[in-house]
């Protein structure tokens, strides 16, 4: 089985976000980025289901963080990494166009990606890519088993209810959570991979416009609802007022 895992570099929300001078994007100077956490789950799930002889290929559009994402994926157990040059990661439409070109003709049985990312305003990558490629897709997948060209997946609804589906391969799956916490690759291992492994390169062309145009970005008004308390004594008074003690 050949499995592609699509990776995206996103701002780390632990950081404080600020609007840039143009007022339509976030200020990325000094901002820390990381692998989209759902993509990390997609990679983990791919590594979990891969048996001997299966191939797990990590793929990312060239840009900041691409080498780090791909070398880390290989250090975790991916068979290879492909850097896509000439594409754009500026929105989901562009990502999907680039990935579709790269995946076409690659004979992948499964294409896994994170269910969503923190900035995918123009749509979630999995279903957009699947529609571009004419493949079936299930999003918000939290368990996956493959047997005889069919994937059995669970898709999370709300209220803790999940639905089980069978999906004919090849298919695209938007992964919500892997069966285990994504593994950690030590820095020494990543460095070793970096020195001993060459990333494949593939040129992808074409950008696709998303059709929605961002005209403003702002921090939502915070504290609007909450009465902010300065000390714990005030909090205790409120708790006691609510009958909690």
């Amino acid at each position: 089985m050949k499995i592609a895992v699509l990776l995206k570099w996103v701002p780390d929300l632990v950081e404080e976000l600020e609007v840039d001078d143009d007022g339509i994007g976030i200020d990325t100077d000094d901002l820390k980025f990381k692998l989209n956490e759902f993509d990390d789950h997609a990679l983990e799930e791919a590594l979990q289901i891969a048996n001997d002889g299966d191939e797990v290929v990590a793929i990312a559009i060239d840009g900041d963080g691409t080498e780090k994402m791909l070398y880390t994926a290989i250090a975790k157990g991916a068979s290879s990494g492909i850097r896509l040059t000439g594409g754009s990661n500026s929105n989901t439409a562009n990502l999907a166009a680039g990935f579709a070109t790269a995946l076409d003709g690659g004979n992948y049985d499964l294409i896994l990606t994170g269910v969503q990312s923190v900035d995918d305003l123009d749509g979630q990558l999995g279903p957009i890519l699947a529609a571009n490629m004419g493949l079936p897709c299930v999003s918000v997948v939290s368990s996956l088993n493959v047997s005889g060209g069919v994937a059995t997946v669970t898709k999370e609804y709300s209220g803790g209810i999940v639905a089980e589906f069978e999906v004919d391969l090849p298919a695209v799956l938007g992964i919500q959570a892997a069966r285990e916490t994504p593994r950690y690759a030590p820095v020494s291992k990543i460095r070793q991979v970096q020195q001993s492994t060459d990333l494949a390169e593939k040129s992808v062309s074409g950008s696709s416009t998303s059709g929605t145009i961002i005209t403003a970005m702002s921090e939502p008004e915070t504290g609007g609802g909450a009465k902010m308390l300065d000390d714990v004594e005030d909090l205790i008074e409120i708790l006691k007022g609510l009958g909690v003690s």
């Binding site: 701002p11 404080e16 976000l17 609007v19 976030i26 789950h41 969503q116 923190v118 900035d119 995918d120 305003l121 123009d122 979630q124 999995g126 279903p127 699947a130 529609a131 079936p136 897709c137 999003s139 918000v140 669970t154 999370e156 609804y157 709300s158 209220g159 803790g160 209810i161 999940v162 639905a163 089980e164 589906f165 069978e166 999906v167 004919d168 298919a171 959570a177 916490t181 998303s210 059709g211 929605t212 961002i214 005209t215 970005m217 702002s218 921090e219 939502p220 915070t222 504290g223 609802g225 909450a226 902010m228 308390l229 714990v232 909090l235 409120i238 708790l239 609510l242 909690v244 003690s245």
Partner: protein
């Protein structure tokens, strides 16, 4: 003006709250409203009284991503709406996104608001885990994936007798529904809890959950959490509050180290009293909380335990 289409969501034979929220949003935008149902839900079209028309798009009553997306496309093609509202949910992701690609029209995700003059639309979206509010525009037919909370479900729940018509999408079977799996009951049913202490990423490590449990014992609360703690395997799924977890309405909800991503807020916003403690004073959780403290949660919790014990 060209109309607004609402792609209705249902589960277990009932329209979901998000369906009525979207009808309320559509009603506030104004214009001719068409609701699209699947499977046997056409029989309940009387519940969709805000809509002028209901289109039955066929398909099985159990959700199927491919056939619902195809049915929705047939409905759009028969009706030519200017805006199509789809739920920003697990089901909606696999309808709205392929619909946008297959119709070649723009889509805005995570919408908390939509306005339109019939041709030009403005969407307000909650991005970056709720830390940024983004305004975007599109002209011509466009899709909005609507977040729970964007509309008022009660206001959207109006009986009536919309006209009913029918379209059919392609019959596809690459994705096949097998069964619904109800959540494990777990040791505690947090949907029944009167007091909940919910912990998020800010708790730091697995061992630090202990201090929250200690406070829970003192004030007779149940422990719940946000998604990352379940993904990390620190707490069972039955304790997860949010979009893909439980929806809770306790008398008191104390959020410790939870930033307040839209997915979490969806599951707890209806709690009677919400108290949030988070060291980041800009955390979106303070928007929905009634009381907030922008302090280190460990300092606050330790003091609370000492004082209340």
């Amino acid at each position: 003006m060209a109309g607004i289409m609402v792609i209705c969501e249902h589960l277990a034979g009932e329209f979901s709250d998000i369906t009525f929220e979207m009808l309320d949003v559509a009603n506030k935008i104004g214009g001719d409203i068409t609701a699209v149902t699947f499977g046997s839900m056409k029989e309940k079209s009387g519940e969709l009284g805000i809509a002028n028309n209901v289109i039955d798009a066929g398909g099985d009553t159990e959700y199927n991503p491919e056939s619902y997306a195809s049915g929705a496309k047939a409905a759009v093609e028969s009706n030519s709406p200017s805006i199509i509202l789809v739920a920003s949910t697990s089901m909606g992701y696999d309808i709205g996104n392929p619909l946008a690609v297959n119709l070649g029209i723009p889509l805005a995700s995570y919408c908390t608001g939509v306005s339109s003059d019939g041709t030009n639309h403005e969407f307000t979206s909650s991005l970056y885990g709720g830390k940024m509010s983004v305004t975007s525009t599109a002209a011509g037919p466009a899709i909005a994936l609507m977040l729970a909370g964007a509309g008022d479900a009660d206001a959207g729940r109006v009986s009536g007798s919309p006209s009913l018509s029918q379209v059919s999408g392609e019959s596809l079977d690459r994705v096949r529904f097998k069964q619904l799996i109800e959540p494990d009951a777990g040791d505690v049913d947090i949907t029944q809890s009167e007091i909940i202490i919910a912990i998020g990423r800010g708790i730091g490590g697995k061992d630090d959950i202990e201090i929250a449990e200690e406070l829970a014992e003192v004030i007779d609360a149940d422990i719940a959490c946000s998604r990352p703690l379940v993904d990390a395997g620190w707490l069972p799924k039955s304790r997860q509050v949010g979009k893909s977890g439980m929806k809770v309405k306790p008398k008191l909800y104390i959020a410790l180290g939870i930033s307040g991503a839209p997915e979490h807020i969806e599951g707890m916003k209806d709690s009677t009293t919400i108290i949030a403690i988070n060291s980041d004073e800009n955390a979106p959780i303070f928007d929905v909380a009634h009381y907030g403290m922008a302090e280190d949660l460990f300092d606050v919790v330790e003091e609370l335990i000492d004082e209340l014990e």
